[in-house]
């Protein structure tokens, strides 16, 4: 124990907004005492650390003053404002240690399944994760209840052996990326205040990203004009003006407006970049759906060829085609972008960064496409697969997804049943006559006579294989034992006893693991732990005896 006591000047605040009472904070090993400078002040404090459940403090470098916030087990908190960060840090470290110490004493254990432990700083996210794990896995929960709540292991020790579990959970979480919303952007309805003609659109970075992804021209224009030529606000105002013009479906008006304002025209015109992209993409389209190839082959599409108004065809307005954008076009584009998914990894904060990240991504993509020569091969294989008529022939190894086993017991049970049945079935098949059997035996004896005994009798490789297979089974016995109705001794026991036995088994295993991991005992802490573990294990033995008595 480094320093038995810390004394600092600090202000005590009951709430964050409270200006605070200046005074002296004195921390001893089991309690802290706050004495205000003004002797009349009511905020005299004397709190034992064992009531403190956690602590928080402001970070250095943030523009907040150095605060330390101690939470007690009633949910209340004590806030101290220090004069400097070094002061704060000294106190925080001291508090950390003190709380840890008080937590070790079993007095804190109160039987409720509170997963948090005072001796470590864990984020709420991690806490939630642990609770989630416990909730999902009843076996773990039971173990946790017995060992941690029972005070044999601390929370930290318990979870330390399960770091993998935690890591996997958390990494899985971070990998999930959010895609685009299915709803179209045009669904952003403007908010009107009802009195004037003004409409307000609210844009979030997410929406902006979607607009950029769906409309490369807008994206390019943004990179070009903002902020050199116009402000971001002007840019979006223009954009929505163009959108409004589109929504009126008045191509003539749109054309007129576009003629006056060249920037507006960018939004109104059809997207050249898209058209270029489309031309590129069409080369890689599955040839069995490529209708564009028809157009190259179809002599019917020649102008003035065939029947013009035969009633089968529709009329096309070609006027103002440049400024006509249809809902169909928007829908197709939107669905394509949603299907592609969001690929920008940056934090969605600033429009500029979003725009630039997207541009970078596009460059990478186009570079990839240029070097992509294997795509055609893939397409050909796919066509070959699709053209096959599936039920006319036996399926050749359908591509199955690997099985994910949630409860290993179910899986191994089913495997074992198969394994057990197989030799039995074989046994039925071979009904050799004793004569034949004798003959075969004699043959093998004569063979051995001729060749001599192999030395060693069993090849090392085979032996190793057998050994591995057997020891592999051993590691599984837990699952095999106790569940299979025909083969387990445990099944002769009443189910409650069986459950109990299994539970004891897991807990002993856990305890042993901790026990051996504590060696060599280098500190008093470990010594205490080993003792605790030893006691706990010795307690289990009589329980087992009781069990056996009950059965017999």
């Amino acid at each position: 124990m480094a320093s038995a006591q810390v004394i600092k000047r600090a202000k005590y605040k009951t709430t964050v907004k409270d200006p605070g009472t200046a005074g002296v904070l004195k921390m001893a090993w089991d309690r802290f005492i706050f004495t205000p400078n003004h002797p009349n002040s009511a905020s005299n404090l004397d709190v034992e650390f064992r009531f403190i459940k956690g602590h928080k403090n402001t970070k250095e470098g943030s523009n907040k003053p150095p605060w330390l916030n101690l939470t007690n087990d009633q949910g209340g908190s004590y806030i101290f404002e220090f004069e400097s960060y070094p002061d704060l840090h000294t106190c925080r470290d001291f508090v950390g240690k003190s709380i840890g110490r008080s937590g070790e004493t079993p007095t804190a254990a109160s039987g409720k399944t509170d997963a948090s432990l005072p001796d470590e700083q864990i984020s709420t996210a991690e806490l939630e994760l642990r609770i989630k794990l416990l909730r999902e896995n009843s076996e773990l929960q039971k173990l946790h209840k017995q060992l941690v709540i029972g005070g044999i292991l601390t929370e930290a020790e318990f979870w330390a052996t399960r770091k993998k579990l935690l890591d996997r959970e958390s990494s899985r979480k971070s990998k999930q990326r959010v895609g685009f919303k299915s709803a179209m952007i045009s669904d952003i309805k403007p908010a009107t205040d009802g009195r004037t003609n003004k409409v307000t659109f609210s844009l979030t970075p997410e929406v902006i990203l979607q607009i950029f992804a769906e409309k490369p021209a807008v994206h390019a224009a943004f990179l070009k004009y903002v902020p050199n030529k116009m402000t971001e606000k002007d840019f979006w105002t223009k954009y929505f003006k163009a959108e409004y013009l589109h929504s009126t479906r008045n191509a003539v008006a749109a054309a007129a407006e576009a003629a006056e304002d060249e920037e507006l025209a960018i939004f109104l015109r059809n997207d050249d970049i898209l058209a270029k992209e489309a031309r590129q993409k069409i080369r890689r389209v599955d040839p069995t759906v490529n209708m564009e190839a028809d157009q190259g082959d179809d002599y019917m599409h020649l102008p003035d060829h065939g029947l013009f108004r035969d009633g089968g065809k529709d009329i096309i307005e070609s006027q103002y085609e440049l400024y006509r954008r249809t809902l169909a076009h928007d829908l197709n584009r939107h669905a394509a972008v949603v299907l592609e998914g969001r690929t920008v990894e940056v934090e969605l904060e600033d429009t500029r960064t979003v725009a630039e990240a997207l541009a970078k991504l596009k460059r990478v993509e186009s570079a990839n496409e240029d070097s992509d020569g294997t795509a055609n091969q893939g397409i050909l294989e796919r066509i070959a697969r699709i053209t096959e008529i599936e039920d006319l022939q036996a399926s050749h190894g359908p591509p199955l997804a690997p099985l994910c086993i949630k409860d290993p017991r179910d899986y191994f049970d089913s495997q074992q049943v198969i394994a057990v049945k197989a030799p039995a079935a074989e046994g039925k098949k071979c009904n050799l006559s004793s004569r034949e059997a004798y003959g075969s035996l004699r043959d093998s004896i004569s063979q051995t006579k001729q060749m001599g005994l192999l030395n060693p009798v069993v090849k090392t490789k085979d032996a190793l294989q057998v050994f591995n297979a057997l020891s592999h089974d051993i590691s599984r016995t837990k699952y095999d034992v106790g569940k299979n109705p025909q083969d387990s001794v445990l099944d002769k026991l009443p189910s409650t006893t069986k459950e109990q036995l299994l539970h004891h088994w897991t807990s002993i295993q856990e305890l042993l693991r901790h026990f051996w991991s504590s060696y060599p005992i280098t500190s008093s802490y470990l010594y205490a732990k080993v003792n605790r573990l030893k006691d706990a294990m010795s307690q289990i033995y009589p329980q087992l005896e009781v069990c056996s008595l009950l059965i017999s």
Partner: protein, 758 residues
């Protein structure tokens, strides 16, 4: 598997075969033996293509002495790719079992645009520019010029191909367009000319209808084919429309303006030639006197178009004297264009027969029928003489000459209709002079005459007796097959009412009703939440689809639909539609699920399959009738009534229902596949409409499913999907086998098979 049909050993690349495939082969073999034409209807999803291919190839293999050739016509390039992929599988199988003796050469043929590998030419946007770009580099006079002057660009692929001479051949194998391009690139040979050359030698040729039906193309590609050919028209339910389109021409103001410009330029060219190289014009004159037209002395890369549909006398006869000289011919064309301009200035709709039209041309412009007839060939001879390479600029005058030739050739089966505006948009002046063909048999006649066996097959050829009348031929075999199903894997329904019990229909007077639009929307919304993977919706027209989707968007139904599935739409822009379709498939592949909005007479309905998870449900919104007020349609109906005694109403219903059946029929690929079909219009419940659907749909249309409302349909869909999710016995249970193995085939002679089937 390998089995015998009479004296032919059939190699079939699968372990099992459907009984209907087997009997399809038997019928087909009968037609081949009889050397006659045949008409076969077999439901989609029963492997028509592979049955056909394996029987014909096996037939040829078993009779090595016969030079039988297979010409397989598809409607679209993507169907061509699919056919070639199936053929590839079959070919691999046959080679595996028979060794190198089974090797055949099969090529797909398409235009330059789809085959060219020269990046300079390929950068052009459309087919005509690619054609012209190619001609600019490969025409004989350009190459002659390049020999003298190395600065003139040529196409290195074509040069290498020419240099290789007769050594430039494709080794045996099956070549898709992609394979041809790859081969051409690797060898440095032009794939287009190589493929065209190989057409003469190939055992199997796959190309689109136009190469046989359109006289302008058929001349170059197909004229040297021998009589011993089996010509197959796959997906031929629309063949009559293709035929009449191939012989129809329309002339608009733009056409005439363009033609005037073209004539002006040709005049300048002639003047230039007169000044520099008059001998060339004289040589052409000589050639025309001899009646050679374009044949014989011209090289393959220069060949223009010839006209097998036109009577032979054009080829033999000398070109009439008054148009032999180039400037005379231009004057004739100028007068003709002027005359057409005058005709377009009409206020009223006019309808005329070709005979009357030619008479009035003779009277007012002084051009007689024989002159008109020769216009097309004369123009091309002239363009060749003038060494015009940018042919895409001269499309307008080509159209005019095309028109003149057709009018001059056919006295019946056509009519000329002049319309000042479209009735649907009376305020937009857009006069059109339309030469419309009514008789589908005209274009297809040379095909029936020239080739030994013509097979017309499709999933929908009902009523099957109508097609021989429309196309004017006598099939030796004409059969319609039903589908034997292992389980009820198709579920057609007729939906007549929305969930509010109000009727739904696209009848003209009620299609825009709010209640109809809403009920259609609710139907789709209910379905997207129940049906997994892909859903396809067909609308009666682009304009109706636009209207209804916009109103769904405004009422928020579209947004709700998008919460369940992504939405893709067919547009009039082919590139966009193709990409949308590709994305749709990917959305279905990745499990996201999607809805595809399409048009019943659009490009997608024509040949894209929505099998397996790409289409678990098809909704046909309305009955896709043609626009019945169209003058052209009315003229055709009149012709059909007078010539074939087909009632107008009957034909319209037949046409609409075959279209609808075609749309919904694309969901099934095999008997393991399953799909639902909803006919959402109250008129489908009427017997006269419904009965025109093909038999294989009708046989699954239960009486209880004839008059449904939305909620009932949703219930049925749920039940159906649940049932389809259960495992089943693929080979079929009970007395009826729906899947035959090698054993089954061997066990039964023909007689017992037929017992089992019917």
């Amino acid at each position: 598997m390998k089995f015998e049909i009479e004296d032919v050993t059939v190699y079939f690349p699968y372990d099992n075969i459907y009984p209907e495939q087997y009997s399809y082969m038997v019928e087909l073999k009968r037609a081949l033996d009889a050397r006659g034409h045949c008409l076969l209807e077999m439901p989609t999803g029963t492997g028509k293509t592979i049955a056909l291919l394996s029987l014909i190839t096996s037939y040829v293999l078993s009779k090595p002495q016969s030079p039988l050739k297979l010409v397989y016509c598809t409607r679209t390039v993507h169907e061509m790719e699919k056919t070639l992929a199936e053929l590839k599988k079959l070919h691999d199988y046959q080679v595996k079992h028979l060794g190198p003796a089974a090797r055949i050469l099969a090529v797909g043929l398409s235009s330059r645009k789809n085959l060219c590998v020269n990046p300079r030419v390929l950068s052009a946007e459309n087919r005509d520019s690619v054609d012209a770009g190619c001609r600019k580099l490969t025409a004989s006079w350009v190459r002659a010029l390049a020999e003298k002057n190395p600065g003139v660009p040529t196409c290195e692929f074509f040069e290498d191909y020419e240099r290789a001479g007769s050594g430039a051949v494709l080794p045996p194998g099956v070549y898709t367009l992609q394979d041809l391009r790859a081969f051409g690139k690797q060898k440095g040979w032009c794939p287009y000319y190589l493929a065209r050359h190989m057409v003469q030698l190939a055992n199997v040729i796959v190309y689109s209808y136009q190469y046989l039906l359109d006289p302008k193309v058929a001349g170059i590609i197909s004229k040297e084919m021998q009589r011993e050919c089996v010509v197959v028209f796959d997906e031929a339910h629309n063949i009559d429309n293709v035929c009449i389109e191939a012989l129809s021409v329309c002339v608009r103001r733009q056409t005439l303006e363009g033609a005037t410009r073209n004539l002006h330029r040709m005049e300048q060219e002639i003047d230039r030639f007169k000044a520099t190289d008059e001998s060339r014009l004289r040589a052409e004159y000589q050639r025309l006197v001899e009646g050679l037209a374009l044949r014989g002395d011209l090289r393959v890369n220069d060949t223009w178009l010839a006209n097998p549909a036109l009577p032979d006398d054009i080829l033999k006869e000398a070109v009439p004297g008054n148009i032999r000289r180039a400037d005379f011919f231009l004057r004739v064309l100028r007068r003709f264009v002027q005359y057409l301009k005058g005709r377009l200035e009409t206020e009223n709709v006019e309808k005329e027969s070709p005979v009357a039209f030619v008479a009035s041309v003779t009277n007012q412009a002084g051009i007689d029928q024989k002159t008109l007839k020769f216009c097309y060939d004369r123009l091309h001879s002239l363009m060749m003489t003038l060494e015009i390479t940018d042919t895409d600029e001269f499309l307008h005058i080509q159209t005019i000459c095309d028109f003149a030739t057709l009018v001059g050739t056919y006295a019946r089966g056509f009519s000329i209709i002049i319309e000042p505006f479209d009735e649907r948009m009376p305020d937009v002046q857009d006069p059109v002079l339309q030469l419309s063909c009514h008789d589908a048999s005209l274009a297809i006649k040379p095909v029936f005459d020239r080739f030994q066996t013509v097979v017309i097959t499709s999933g929908t050829l009902s009523p099957i007796d109508l097609y021989p009348r429309l196309l004017n031929f006598n099939p030796v075999v004409s059969r319609s097959f039903t589908m034997s199903l292992t389980r009820d894997c198709i579920c057609p329904m007729v939906l007549t009412r929305g969930s509010d019990q109000l009727p739904v229909s696209t009848k003209f007077d009620m299609r825009s009703d709010l209640s109809v639009v809403r009920n259609y929307g609710r139907l789709l919304l209910e379905m997207v939440s129940v049906v997994p993977d892909g859903i396809v919706c067909f609308f009666v027209s682009y304009s109706y689809m636009d209207e209804i989707v916009n109103s769904w968007n405004e009422s928020g139904i579209l947004k709700e639909i998008m919460q369940h599935k992504l939405v893709f739409i067919e547009t009039q822009d082919v590139v966009e539609t193709t990409l949308a379709l590709d994305n749709y498939r990917r959305a279905c592949d990745c499990g996201r699920g999607a809805v595809f909005f399409s048009v019943a007479r659009g490009k997608v309905a024509e040949g894209i399959d929505f099998d397996r998870h790409y289409g678990r449900l098809v909704i046909m919104f309305g009955i896709p009738f043609q626009y019945t007020l169209s003058k052209i349609l009315l003229a055709r109906l009149e012709y059909l009534r007078d010539t074939f005694q087909i009632k107008e109403g009957d034909f319209l219903t037949f046409d609409a229902l075959r279209q609808a059946a075609q749309c919904v029929g694309r969901v099934i690929r095999s008997k393991a596949d399953y799909g639902m079909m909803i006919f959402a219009d109250k008129r489908y419940s009427r017997h006269d409409k419904r009965s025109k659907l093909p038999g294989w749909i009708l046989s699954h249309l239960r009486d209880a499913h004839l008059n449904l409302s939305t909620d009932m349909a949703v219930y049925i869909a749920r039940e159906f999907l649940r049932k389809m999710a259960q495992p089943y016995d693929k080979a079929g249970s009970g007395g009826k086998k729906t899947l035959l193995s090698q054993e089954d085939i061997e066990k039964m002679g023909d007689g017992s098979l037929n017992d089992m089937l019917y």
